[in-house]
Symmetry: C2
Subunit: 118 residues, 2 copies
Amino acid sequence: MLLRIDAGSDAPLYDQLAGSLRADMAAGRVRPGERLPSAREVAAALDVNLHTVLRAYQELRDEGLVDMRRGRGAIVTSAAGELFSLRADIAALGAKARTLGLSADALASLVRDELRQG
Amino acid sequence: MLLRIDAGSDAPLYDQLAGSLRADMAAGRVRPGERLPSAREVAAALDVNLHTVLRAYQELRDEGLVDMRRGRGAIVTSAAGELFSLRADIAALGAKARTLGLSADALASLVRDELRQG
DNA sequence: CGATTAGTTATAGTTGATCTATAACAATCG
DNA sequence: CGATTGTTATAGATCAACTATAACTAATCG
């Protein structure tokens, strides 16, 4: 598991953290049933506030990717496995968009809106 | 062209506006060569500030989807046509993600990161 | 040319999100 | 029980988002 944070990025820290964990799930580096390191551990390791890490975890919970309970921590759900099963499709779409010279943000926004309403 | 704004949404107004126009391009409702309504017109019609609309237009410019020049307005580029050519792939990925019960935000974030680095 | 259109730049103020800092609380587990 | 871990509460600092005006410059049209 590789937790990256870029202070120079315009994206919020908790979004970066959640994105980092999401990518780990999609890549199969983090699997269903696994427990994420405790928020306090991560906060200490990355030198950010506890709440920042918890907000990232809650973002993943809202997406159905982890279950959270006090005393037990954040446990990866089966939805992470389903993300993993889409990795080839996502890579294919990304490659196609890249040859067309499309921006990451434009494509991501379209995909979001497609899944939300389309 | 359908410009939607939802005040209750957590997304910034300029992102919503840009997303709305992007969706129009991907759907073929707005085509290369076409001129977008002037920022002042849109601002008046949606009752938002001129700068908010301009920021949305600049977002589209940064993504290569429009060219902007003073006196002439924002003109849709050929990149919009390439977005259109991806619509089927995007819809297919969205449908697959939907059957798996994945959230729009999770999938969109993965696609963004994929195109950025992967 | 003169008037209009439309994006660009500048300044400033308000509101809300982000991040941090502490601390106490409640469920889980050995 | 004691340690761990998420949850909740409060508060403060910093920055993004949005608004409001106004002046400026390039393009367009009669």
